[in-house]
Symmetry: C2
């Protein structure tokens, strides 16, 4: 099949599915979604089935045609089904069959991929569809568009035509795709691809494009004012394209981006609203969707022959592919909710197993009672003296109560309760059959599951991680036909798609595991993980390699397949020249492949796990190899382009990236970081070599942000800088510091090992924190757009890890002095509080005592390393036997003085009582001991010997003496003792104080 044959076949297929066949849009779009046939028609209740080709243009994806499968101009085939037809996955898979793809011969997977377009105010949940590892389609349930919730939800299916053709024609690159019998894709498209890349990356005039953006925006505004929806929409699309070209030119900074997005989003929202209003005013002329068969609305079938004695029970919730995380979460929730539900229902049961795969959640009980246990309850009625008259005859109150509770009048009894005498009735709740109560309870069980992101799909309004498509509930050999999400539970389960048997009847609950096992489905996640682990190890061994750090990815992969079969693929060893981190990121993150290593070095192999058996494994492997080659080629392309110039030469481009409007460009920031690095390096006492490395690293610290590789994979920032710096011949310490200044990149990551790395990171973070606080952009609530929490945590962790004592107050002030805007002292103080707050959270998360953390941070929060040590020490002290006495002793000194004005200095001559003289002497001894700043041990070692003296002092001496001078002198003595804890800990925060 040629490229054009595929388009014809898809048009025909969707024509027979009742779709309107539509045409590509008349202005540049990044995707078929932006065609109003999607972006507007998905709004409102009217049914809408449409299919069309969309030549899509994404300037930043341009590679001059040098990448095998990523071009700035490519072809989508877009399908919208509104409302959800109930089986869109199956309809879609049949379209692949129409293209001549035999799904049985391939590994077709639905891999979680959620979609959001800030510019369109739209989002949805769904998947990438992978064919042997190649993403060939995006499949999304649209939840919102133009800022409006979609009712009903639309199914969006977006085919990547070139990707499909590569599979169909076994082509290595877009270039080789046969467009028709005579010409290839490359012959028709390559020249244009190169030219548009040239335009987008080099020729486009930034000023003119900005001016175009403004004019388009203004026209869109006029159109909206005049109620012209489509013309307005066109202009937003034009804004969007111009934005994309500006982006390609590297002319869009962070804040810039947010502002431009905001303007487009605002217009999009107004357009969507106007469109909706227009249709509404027209009375939604295309009608509401034809009523989907909502089985829930019909009477449930009768249950025939429910089990008479305890019998196995199975509930299967059949879904479209759940995201890996949601599968784990659902299983966890069910593991507690399911037994709780059974207990609540008073249904006797053996242990409950909760298992699942991406397509099913299953609750299995070996023995479930046929009925509820009976229950008796005593219910309180009216006071006895109001229930019976003087003659002991029941009053109307008693009669009403008995009737209401369904007990005979004579069964009422009087009891003493709640401090009075009341009439009570003993009500017996007989056990109802299990199927009855489960019919009522199971919908609630499913409905109680919560997910990080949930979706709606059909008219039932049910909300779940992904659509629920079937329900099976069997008790013994009897169905429990409850209703949920428009479905009624039965006994049919679905097996592997395109297998010989795609469904099966669960004749008896006990058979369920065997039914699945027979088709190779591994229902138990642990078992899946184990079999995958075994397979991987075997395959790795075959090439003499091993797969380290397998577990995290393994857990994810095990949640992506029902019937796992690992396969070993190869890639061109030439790619091993690329930075290891790049290769690993591509394999693990993009493709969920396990890299294979030997002695810490990558081998040119990878292990993937398909969903299915070992049939046609060769072609599946070849497909996966294709995909990886394309991915690696993309990386190689970037590195090659990037390496055409030195890392340092990327610096000027940072001037076009806005860090924050008032704080200037990223290049401005680099300047500040360099300055602060110099100050801190001196302050922290780096030697000359380290100081030079830090200075150079600060200079280059952000240069890699302008490289293609980092623009493409932001997670490689720092890593790429290190690699390129080394390749440029920069000293190793410099390269290392460039990398390390980002450490730790996330929770659990390591901290900077070298002092230059630590110092540059410190400077970077202090600048960010102080700058953004000064600009009034501190995090509020859940909003933390500049990731300042992460910055504060990293800052604390680095200092603590290396035990670098550092006064944040001074650091923030120095950072403030370098800013282009004023950072008042209040902002510095707020910033310090914020950082201390992060350290507090860190310490608590590590299991430290709340009171200890509070006590230490209150005194030395400005010095994270000191504070951390203090917490450790104070906790040790607090565990000691005599801690209570020590604390109490110190507390007495604090309590009596804290409401008093600070006294004049202690006058030894005025000491009268022996006990006070003794105490003064002990204080002198304590004060004389050498102490490290902030040291809890030093403080307590100094103070503890004074405890008996303090006790005696309070026994013998009246602090609040009549003579004011004497009183003041005694208070001064105690204040001196209290002062011993200064800069160490505020012990008043301690429990027992």
């Amino acid at each position: 099949m040629t490229f054009q044959d595929v388009i014809l076949a898809l048009q025909q297929y969707w024509n027979t599915q009742g779709c309107v066949l539509w045409q590509p849009y008349h202005t540049e779009v990044g995707a078929g979604t932006m065609n109003p046939a999607t972006s507007l028609r998905v709004l409102g209740p009217e049914p809408w089935h449409v299919a069309y080709v969309e030549p899509s243009i994404r300037p930043t994806d341009g590679r001059y045609g040098e990448n095998p499968n990523r071009w700035q101009h490519f072809y989508q085939f877009q399908v919208i089904l509104k409302p959800d037809p109930g089986d869109p996955q199956e309809i879609y898979l049949q379209s692949l069959v129409a293209l001549g793809i035999d799904p049985a011969k391939h590994d077709i997977r639905f891999v979680e991929d959620n979609w959001a377009s800030p510019a369109l105010g739209a989002w949805g949940l769904g998947w990438e569809v992978w064919l042997d590892g190649q993403e060939i389609t995006q499949f999304t349930y649209f939840q919102q568009a133009g800022g409006m919730a979609l009712e009903p939800v639309s199914v969006e299916i977006t085919y990547g035509l070139e990707r499909i053709l590569m599979v169909l024609q076994d082509a290595d690159t877009f270039l080789d795709i046969r467009w028709n019998q005579r010409l290839t894709y490359g012959q028709l498209q390559l020249q244009g691809e190169r030219e548009y890349c040239g335009y987008n990356f080099n020729t486009a005039n930034v000023e003119r494009l900005r001016s175009l953006f403004g004019e388009y925006e203004a026209e869109a505004g006029s159109c909206l004012q005049a109620g012209l929806v489509l013309p307005a929409h066109d202009y937003v699309l034009k804004c969007s394209h111009v934005f994309n070209v500006l982006d390609s030119r590297g002319a869009v900074g962070v804040a810039d981006r947010a502002a431009l997005f905001g303007r487009m989003r605002d217009l999009s929202r107004r357009i969507s609203e106007a469109y909706f209003r227009q249709r509404q005013e027209a009375g939604f002329p295309w009608g509401a969707p034809e009523g989907q068969a909502d089985h829930a609305a019909e009477p449930l079938p009768l249950v025939s022959a429910p089990p008479a004695k305890p019998a196995p029970f199975v509930l299967e919730i059949g879904t479209e592919e759940l995201p890996a995380g949601d599968l784990d979460s659902a299983l966890d929730q069910l593991r507690s909710a399911a037994p709780a539900m059974l207990d609540d229902l008073r249904l006797g049961h053996s242990s409950v197993r909760v298992l699942g795969t991406p397509r099913r959640l299953a609750i299995l009980v070996d023995e479930l009672a046929p009925r509820q246990q009976e229950q008796a309850a005593v219910i309180k009625g009216p006071p006895a003296d109001r229930a019976f008259d003087a003659q002991g005859k029941p009053t109307a109150a008693a009669i009403g109560f008995a009737k209401g509770k369904g007990v005979p009048l004579e069964a009422l009894q009087a009891c003493e309760m709640d401090g009075g005498r009341y009439v009570v009735a003993e009500v017996r709740q007989p056990g109802r059959p299990a199927h009855e109560v489960l019919q009522e309870a199971l919908p609630g069980l499913i409905g109680s599951l919560r997910f990080e992101m949930s979706m709606r799909w059909n008219a039932s309004g049910a909300v779940f991680s992904r659509p629920i498509r079937w329900l099976a509930a069997v008790h013994g050999d009897s169905i429990i036909p409850f209703a949920y999400a428009g479905l009624v539970a039965g006994r049919r389960t679905r097996l592997m798609r395109f297998a010989a048997d795609e469904t099966a009847e669960i004749r008896a609950a006990a058979e369920y595991p065997a039914i699945l096992a027979k088709t190779g489905i591994v229902l138990d996640p642990d078992a899946r993980r184990q079999t995958i682990r075994d397979q991987i190890e075997k395959l790795a061994a075959r090439v003499g390699g091993e797969v380290p750090e397998m577990e995290g990815l393994l857990a994810e992969v095990a949640n992506l397949v029902e019937r796992p079969t690992a396969l070993l693929g190869d890639f061109d060893p030439a790619f091993l020249k690329l930075p290891r981190e790049v290769l690993v990121a591509v394999m693990r993150k993009h493709q969920r492949y396990f890299p294979v290593e030997k002695g810490g070095r990558l081998l040119p192999h990878f292990i993937a796990v398909r969903n299915g058996g070992s049939e046609h494994l060769d072609s599946v492997t070849r497909g996966n190899e294709h995909v990886l080659r394309a991915r690696f080629s993309d990386a190689a392309y970037f590195v090659r382009r990037d390496r055409e110039q030195r890392l340092e030469s990327y610096l000027p481009r940072l001037a076009t990236m806005t860090f924050q409007e008032r704080l200037g460009s990223v290049l401005d920031k680099v300047g500040r970081v360099e300055r602060l690095t110099a100050i801190l390096a001196k302050h922290l006492g780096l030697d000359a070599a380290a100081m030079a490395a830090a200075a150079r690293a600060a200079h280059l610290s952000k240069a890699d942000l302008a490289t293609n590789m980092v623009v493409e994979m932001t997670s490689l920032q720092g890593e790429v800088g290190r690699q390129y710096a080394l390749a440029d011949g920069e000293p190793e310490a410099v390269a290392e510091a460039i990398f390390e200044h980002y450490l730790p990149r996330n929770a659990g990551d390591r901290t900077a090992a070298s002092l230059p790395g630590l110092v540059v990171g410190l400077a970077d973070r202090l600048d960010s924190l102080m700058g953004l606080f000064a600009a009034g952009l501190q995090p509020t609530g859940a909003r933390d757009p500049f990731a300042l929490r992460r910055a504060a945590i990293g800052l604390v962790q680095n200092l603590v890890e290396r035990n670098v004592r550092f006064d944040l107050r001074r650091g923030l002030r120095q950072a403030a002095e370098g800013l282009p805007i004023e950072a008042p002292e209040t902002a510095q103080a707020d910033c310090l509080v914020f950082i201390t707050g992060r350290q507090s959270a860190l310490l608590l998360a590590d299991g430290h005592r709340y009171d200890v953390v509070e006590a230490v941070l209150a005194a030395q929060g400005h010095d994270p390393a000191g504070a951390a040590a203090g917490v450790e020490a104070l906790e040790r002290w607090a565990r000691s036997e005599d801690w209570a006495a020590t604390l109490q002793s110190f507390a007495r000194c604090v309590r009596i003085t804290r409401s008093q004005p600070s006294s004049a200095s202690l006058n030894a001559a005025m000491l009268i009582e022996p006990a006070e003289k003794q105490l003064a002497a002990a204080l002198q001894q304590a004060e004389a001991k050498p102490r490290a700043a902030g040291s809890v041990d030093d403080f307590l070692n100094a103070f503890r010997p004074m405890v008996p003296t303090v006790s005696r002092f309070f026994e013998d001496v009246l602090v609040m003496a009549e003579d004011p001078a004497v009183r003041a002198n005694r208070l001064a003595l105690l204040q001196r003792i209290v002062a011993l804890a200064g800069g160490v800990a505020d012990l008043s925060k301690m429990e027992g104080f």
Copy 2:
């Protein structure tokens, strides 16, 4: 078939024809032609077959969806075939069959329609394809694109999808077309159509659009500099779309338009050249077209059994549909060229008939000799004395000569000739067989035909009005197989398409007329005209009407059909409320229908002439009625919109129409015309009522230019103004003058009948002429962009027709005074010369004597009416018997004085001789006679009596007397005589002077 089914069917059809299936373009285009898949790919030699849908946007065509078949957004299906496959019409017609159209049931016609896109620097020749009067396709042989000649030529087929669907679904409007099974075109498109109309006509911001135009243009320029062809092309398309929207907003004036077009054309040309260069540098990687079978290159077949005695001969040149004018012209040319060729060839022949239809040119000879007549020629050789030596033996010279001429040595003779004695040989040229000489001559005969516009179509490089697709040449029963245009003549002719027999063998030349007649083809144009006339009269009579002024259209229609069948159609009488001129123009000009009248009033009927028999005439009639309804609806729409406001209220819009950059807007011009009208009205002595009417008419004269109706059908300018003015209640004289000021609109049109109309027209034309001459924009060579020739001719004709004496010198000066720019006297003089030149051409075209015209215009070209009268009169005089004497007499006076300085005044006292005294007396008498200015009669009546006196004077008197005083006085006398002709005629221009 639904709309989308038709697209699928066309895609499939052209897929099987080997076309690349392409996609609509990613920016707004007015037609599929602008997609680079056409506009660029047609350049260069590489073969290119492509087909695609193109949603096309033509803002000015918007009617808010109120027109049945004209929307600003519509769908084209575009096909390019490069090179010409040899039978593109047939391939195209088969595509209609693929859509389920049975061509036998319809009237399918190829109606001349040439195409040119100034913006793309492109043009081609071809047709509209009409299906029952509905234009469903444009079929064009591209000759040039981007300013480059195309080699090879591309065939462009552009389907109007909606039009085809209206036929297929018998739908009345676009709205009713079923798009798919569920939704109509209207449901999907109407809202958008309305919105875009609202945007294009009202909302679009003119200033912003102008700014966009400039930015796009600048980007296109940058792209070209960087060698980026496609990005540059995109920006030109964007320019073009913005231009179209500006045009819809009424913001583009005449000169403005030319300037913007020029800028776009320039970019287009550079883009085309860059594209061509790019492909050339790549070595035209898709190859040259596969060699078409060029039969001309092969040896011609032998002629078997040529006739032995005179026999009938027929030559048929089979073509694709010739334009009506080209058919006439070709027949005319052949009528003289064919007999001349036969005579040249010395082939005896009976009379030659030349007949033809749009698809064939035929030469028929009843008797054509089988061989040439023998010819003998005497050829001169060397001088006799050098040919024979003293012994009379032939020398080498004689031997060589004899051998060279192929005569025996002994046949040489010596003759006296050319003043010497030479050897001569009598060379007999024997008659060659007719087929031999015709084989050689017929290509030249066809190649000698010339057309107003000619085209190339295939690799033979032949040039013709339309492609020649077959050649038949039969003499007796024998083929004369000559080669031309890649074809070899045979005996097969083609008949009506889709008839039972589409071709036939001409077994003998004599059978040819009968073969055609049998299928209903009327070969003789006169006979076609007659049968159509008869049919029309019969049909008109059927509704009690008549068809006046039939002949012009009849001549055209007869040239559009081979087998004419007239049909009578009806239209809604409600349309009769529209201005008659509009209805007539639509029927006659757009549709080639004959309007039916009764007593000078239109009837709601029309007569069309189909090509074909009377089969399915009902459905053909219905189709034609559909088309007319749509056309009338369009007009009705315009009139309705226009009449929503008064004519006067259109005036402000004229401010946005540039008349000419330096001369301001059309509104500025109206102001000048009003001023000049007032001056001229006074000058020409209009009464108060006429003066008021002229003033008001001048004010409103151009208002209709801003109405929809005139924007749509420019030819109705003035006419629409009159109608709307009447409807507004303006006085009849004002309405009439608005109309008349444009008269005469073309050669043969009437002139203004009312004085207000004449005066306003005069003012308008004087302003245009003087203004544009002042701006340096006088016509040069063939270029006359402002139609100043027409203006000058109209000016002259009006003055002459009503015999209004008017001094153009004064008029031009007054016009000059009103201009915003300086009009120096040289410009005024040039302008006068230009106008006089037009009158000269007019007079000569009327058959006046060249010398008379020159003589009179030289003296009174500034007064056209006077000059015209003078020419008439002088011609009368010049025919008189004694003219020669009179002229000579006057000439003697002129000749002797013209090289002399102007003498002092005549001194009667110095007259000496009687003859001179007599002459002076005669002169006094002549001068005393009352004379009208410029009157030839008065002048000659005054002069003629002097003739004898003049004769005597020259006999008796020596003018050049020795005495200078005497001489001067005599010269003065003669100069006074010469002066009699002043302001009348310069008789020195006369023959015989």
